[in-house]
């Protein structure tokens, strides 16, 4: 359930539980349903039921934390081994550099150019660079690896739903996230295609 970036002023989640309620548990002075009023990147949290939800973080907060811990004196990337051998320093440097760039565009599926070449990645793949960052003690505040979509931004282009054929996709089909994202990036507007066709 992603919160829209702008124009949406409040979000309330209600639950319908069909399971039987659990036995009463002893309560401490701070009950799980106590309203928690805190602010996260401009959002004000009015209520959080800790029986179900214990944390909420925005991309802005994650980037701030990554920037905070990306300094060389605070890096602790050797604390835990990474399952995939990749240079952690590159990841730390990248987080700091991208954060400082303050890109005005959003494109979640490309990664910054390395040696003059762009590469594509599945956004659902684990980022081992950031996993190491997340696994180390100072980065616990990051709550896990940074999502790829925060590393670089490009403005989303308006595309036509017709070409996505979202209505016709079967749920039984394996989720081809990468294909859908590839389609989103390479769609052309219907008007543009007709214009190009007429020119030829």
């Amino acid at each position: 359930i992603s919160l829209p970036a702008s124009g949406f002023s409040s979000l309330q989640l209600n639950v319908k539980a069909t399971l039987k309620p659990e036995a009463d548990k002893p309560r401490c002075s701070s009950t799980p349903c106590s309203p928690i009023k805190s602010t996260v990147s401009g959002y004000q949290i009015l209520h959080m039921n800790s029986n179900y939800l214990v944390g909420f973080t925005t991309g802005e907060e994650l980037l701030k934390l990554a920037h905070k811990w990306s300094g060389p004196e605070k890096s602790n990337t050797e604390a835990l081994p990474s399952p995939v051998k990749k240079p952690v320093d590159l990841g730390l440097h990248r987080a700091s550099r991208i954060y400082k760039a303050k890109s005005r565009f959003y494109q979640p599926y490309d990664i910054p150019a390395v040696n003059g070449r762009r590469r594509r990645r599945m956004p659902s793949s684990s980022e081992s660079c950031f996993r190491s960052l997340a696994a180390s003690e100072p980065s616990k505040a990051l709550h896990g690896p940074l999502p790829l979509c925060l590393l670089k931004g490009k403005r989303a282009h308006s595309k036509s739903l017709d070409y996505l054929n979202l209505d016709k996709m079967s749920l039984r089909e394996p989720a081809d996230t990468e294909v859908l994202q590839y389609q989103l990036q390479h769609l052309t507007l219907r008007g543009e295609r007709m214009f190009n066709r007429n020119k030829t």
Binding site: S2, S10, L11, V15, M48, Y52, R104, S124, G153
Partner: protein
């Protein structure tokens, strides 16, 4: 819905013109939730969203949201808002019916935080106007 248990309530005051200058407009396109394992036992969750519309009327406002675990589609949700009056404040409710989750899948989702992810696509007149992402943890740890 029947129990009326509110899981989460959040609001965002409108930004001042000074605040807008310093904030990357794309920074709010991603959110991260940290749920407890109990959340995965729910069957239906309602989300009430309040939003404002600018000066231009919105035709055929629609949101398609897809949830994945490790690249595999869990469920696709399709919500149609319809026509939105310009300069209006609107409230809508989405009902998320959870897909059946096996015990094994629940176990895996808990074991692998933030590998459950979602994409939300917003359309106006069948044109994509916005895309947001979210990821989820179910370990109950902050």
């Amino acid at each position: 819905m029947e129990t009326g248990i509110v899981l989460f309530e959040i609001t965002k005051p409108p930004l001042s013109s000074e605040d807008r200058k310093d904030i990357d407009p794309n920074a709010g396109r991603f959110v991260r939730y940290q749920f407890t394992p109990a959340f995965l036992r729910l069957r239906q969750v309602g989300a009430t969203v309040e939003f404002t519309v600018g000066d231009i009327p919105i035709n055929n406002f629609r949101m398609i949201e897809r949830h994945y675990f490790r690249g595999q589609l869990l469920k696709s949700f399709d919500f149609e808002f319809g026509f939105c009056i310009p300069s209006s404040k609107n409230t809508c409710e989405h009902i998320y019916e959870f897909p059946p989750l096996s015990e094994e899948l629940i176990h895996e989702m808990i074991l692998h935080p933030y590998e459950t992810q979602s994409d939300s696509f917003y359309f106006v007149d069948n044109k994509l106007v916005m895309h947001n992402k979210a990821d989820y943890s179910y370990t109950g740890a902050q």
